[in-house]
Amino acid sequence: MKEEIIIAGFGGQGVLSMGKILAYAALMNDMEVTWMPSYGPEQRGGTANVTVIISDEEISSPIVDTYDTAVILNQQSLDKFESHIKPGGTLIYDPYGIHRSPARTDINIVKVNAMDASIELGNAKGYNMILLGALLKLKPVVSLDDVLRGLKKALPERHHHLIPANEQAILKGMSLL
């Protein structure tokens, strides 16, 4: 098993955190994992992305040119990464802020109204966890239990009271599909 995932959107949407939680979940599941962020000034309001590779074997390159799954949160990222999804791969996107819908016909395209769902939940910060829930529903590379254990490991103890709200957002994301 090897899953090469790109998560891309605006800085501040929780792109890097979502990747981090996924990476920690893989760690909990004893799998190999790499988490490679785009870093730099572009993160402040510009685009941010992270490549997460989860595998049951040693991972050679943390940088790849094609992805099994892409989670896309803005137009720039859709323009940049749509053509880099492997044939048969999965594209998850939030239509909020995207004016040109994805056009590929050889991939599985899944629309997730995560922004609306986060408003409905009254948890705007849970936006990325809703998308993570959708991702886990489509691609169960790690289990919800791994994610919750990963959150415990990733978050400092003073933030552990936020885990139930994150769990709720993940479950919400799962229920959207």
């Binding site: 920690y24 909990m28 050679s60 390159s61």
Partner: protein, 367 residues
């Protein structure tokens, strides 16, 4: 899950490993993409546990001179920076080498020249391996390609630096510094006691006692005859290091028809290219120098005996390729593939270079 396995960035691993090695002092100044080294040390607050000093200096020049001062007293001291900051340190590094002081310098390279970009690069290869500052000297240069090696090379770097009384450098790049991977940290060690330093480093400035002569640590020697003798001693040390400390890793070398030589993060990207090439029926091997100085000349020469060509892949305009050419004496065609300025290529681009340079076709070159 093994509780000892953690997930962290390469820069964070450097900081954790430094505390666990029992480093006495870290002196640094923030610069992207290595600022997490200082940040993590500040968060770990080792001054309350091991007694390690962590100090943000006012500049890189101060940092390296604080390292010089600490090293002169036999303490295990280090600094970290990124390319422009390491350029500022070159005078101090030359003085460390000339004074035969052990120390660890970490360079998490970014794209240059000048202030350049903050993105990954390997364009300080010449600076790191050929001296960098003035005078005839070398640093022991370790090139990590994983977060695990970022952690491991802190201890290795200090062990070698103290063994040979010479500064060592970890030459990493923005990819290894910024990415998170699994890592098992070394055991927590005690910092050496004053008595241990006195015994293990008889040259150090630990306070003159009645039973020994005054120790002097200096790089200045106005008598040229003595300075030449000093240089001869440095060169003997370098010869010894060259004979004993070459490190590299080979992948699929046994049946390789073509060879890639790459270090650091570029070696990881190339390893994926090698795997893809083999799936497409082309037997490529990879040799990854772990010590960039001393350089694995013999290993590369041997690995290329049956090779039709060598591709040297680097995040620069072609620096390590000069050492690879020295290793193979024109017996094998050597070509370069590189990206500059902070651009990191993907494995498909490496294979594309094979097609361009050697005319190698891959059956399934759909990527």
């Amino acid at each position: 899950m093994n509780e000892d396995i953690r997930l962290m960035k390469g820069n964070e691993a450097i900081a954790h490993a430094a505390v666990r090695y029992g480093v006495d002092g870290y002196f640094g100044y923030p610069i992207t993409p290595q600022s997490e080294v200082l940040e993590t040390l500040e968060a770990l607050m080792p001054w309350e546990t091991t007694g390690m000093v962590v100090l943000q200096a006012e500049s890189e020049i101060s940092s390296i001179n604080m390292v010089y001062g600490g090293a002169a007293t036999g303490k295990a001291v280090m600094t970290s920076s990124s390319s422009p900051g390491v350029s500022l340190m070159q005078e101090g590094i030359s003085y460390l080498a000339a004074s035969e002081l052990p120390a660890l310098i970490v360079n998490v390279m970014r794209g240059g020249p000048g202030l350049g970009t903050i993105h990954p690069s390997q364009s300080d290869y010449f600076q790191a391996t050929k001296g960098g500052g003035h005078g005839d000297y070398h640093l022991i240069v370790l090139a990590p390609s994983s977060v695990q090696e970022m952690a491991d090379f802190v201890g290795l770097g200090f062990d070698l630096a103290f063994k040979y009384r010479t500064p060592a450098m970890i030459l990493a790049d923005g990819v290894v510094g910024q990415m998170m991977e699994k890592v098992v940290l070394p055991e927590q060690r005690q910092r050496r006691t004053a008595e241990e330093i006195r015994t293990q480093c008889p040259w150090a400035l630990t306070g003159k006692t009645a039973d020994r002569k005054r120790n002097v640590v200096t790089s200045l020697e106005l008598d040229s005859a003595i300075m030449e003798k000093n240089n001869e001693r440095f060169q003997r040390t370098y010869k010894e290091i060259e004979a004993n400390e070459v490190r590299y890793q080979g992948y699929h070398l046994d049946d390789a028809e073509y060879l890639i030589v790459a270090f650091g993060s570029m070696a990881r990207i190339c390893l994926k290219a090698v795997e893809e090439a083999r799936k497409a029926g082309v037997k490529i091997g990879l040799l990854r120098p772990i010590t960039l100085w001393p350089f694995p000349y013999e290993a590369i020469c041997k690995a290329s005996e049956n090779a039709k060509g060598i591709l040297v892949a680097e995040l620069n305009a072609g620096q390590m390729i000069e050492d690879v050419r020295l290793a193979v004496h024109d017996n094998v065609p050597v070509e370069h593939f590189g990206r500059m300025g902070g651009i990191v290529p993907n494995p498909a681009e490496v294979l594309g270079a094979f097609t361009d340079k050697f005319g190698v076709k891959f059956n399934d070159q759909t990527n």
